[in-house]
């Protein structure tokens, strides 16, 4: 299934509803649906936060694929040179998560790091580690022309 979303925070709930409807229609278990919708939400949140939506016509593309054993969630948004530091951070974070044999360890390390930060520091940085651990998904990304494609593949 493919659908588009305006880069507006209020649209996240809409994306969640569309995703839930699609996944439930495929007969997936409630826990799995919750886990996949968490992945979708976190990726869309990042897309809205870090995407480059200079033109009001620009939207987020969301693709959900279900194969016999895997579910792939893709979130695609426009990027430009101004997004370079976020792309570097995305790359580093994904590599960092992959460096752990068990994604639970990456998640716990991230929680420890967050717990020491000041209360007023609103940066979380937890989303990708959560996707890997709680969503049991493998994260990847690529940039093609002016678009960033972030994907999470979960086995079920």
């Amino acid at each position: 299934m493919k659908f588009k979303l305006k880069p507006d925070w209020s649209q996240i709930e809409k994306a969640r509803e569309v995703g839930i409807h699609f996944l439930e229609a495929h007969g997936l278990a409630k826990d799995l649906v919750h886990s996949l919708i968490m992945i979708l939400s976190e990726l869309v949140e990042n897309s809205i936060k870090y995407g480059n939506f200079n033109n009001p016509e620009m939207e987020i593309d969301i693709n959900l694929y279900i194969n016999s054993n895997y579910i792939t969630i893709e979130v695609i948004n426009p990027v430009d040179q101004e997004n370079a530091k976020h792309l570097i951070r995305l790359d580093k974070t994904i590599q960092w998560i992959r460096g752990y044999q068990d994604s639970f360890q990456a998640y716990v390390e991230k929680l420890k790091e967050i717990s020491k930060k000041p209360l007023e520091d609103e940066e979380s940085g937890l989303g990708l580690a959560r996707i890997a651990y709680e969503g049991k998904a493998i994260l990847d990304f690529f940039v093609l022309e002016d678009s960033l494609n972030v994907s999470a593949v979960a086995k079920y």
Partner: protein, 105 residues
């Protein structure tokens, strides 16, 4: 007499009740705000301070929450760390039957 204070922000509701030996903090709905800490942190700091001042345990009850984004987990972890440092008693209640809550907590 028990007094419950309700705090609501978008789809999230936090209810705080002072009991004889603890503060009960119930979470309901969904926390999907862009910056949930702006809403959550002042509430939790206030309850934590009262808990320590009055020697009461703080109970964070997540059993009725449907979903929270990772930005919501952040202020909760920070408050739990501060509670630990301040030697305040904290209990976290969650539903073991919900896989996502089991994995988070």
């Amino acid at each position: 007499m028990t007094i419950t204070e309700d705090y609501t922000n978008d789809l999230l509701k936090i209810s705080v009740t002072e009991r004889d030996d603890h503060f009960q903090v119930n979470w309901q709905g969904k926390s999907i705000d862009r910056k949930p800490s702006v809403f959550i942190t002042p509430i939790l700091i206030k309850v934590l301070k009262k808990s320590m001042d009055r020697g009461k345990r703080m109970i964070l009850d997540f059993r009725e929450i449907e979903y929270m984004n990772s930005s919501t987990i952040t202020p909760i972890i920070k408050i739990l760390e501060r509670a630990k440092r301040g030697k305040a008693g904290v209990t976290v209640k969650y539903l073991d039957s919900l896989k996502w809550q089991q994995l988070i907590f």
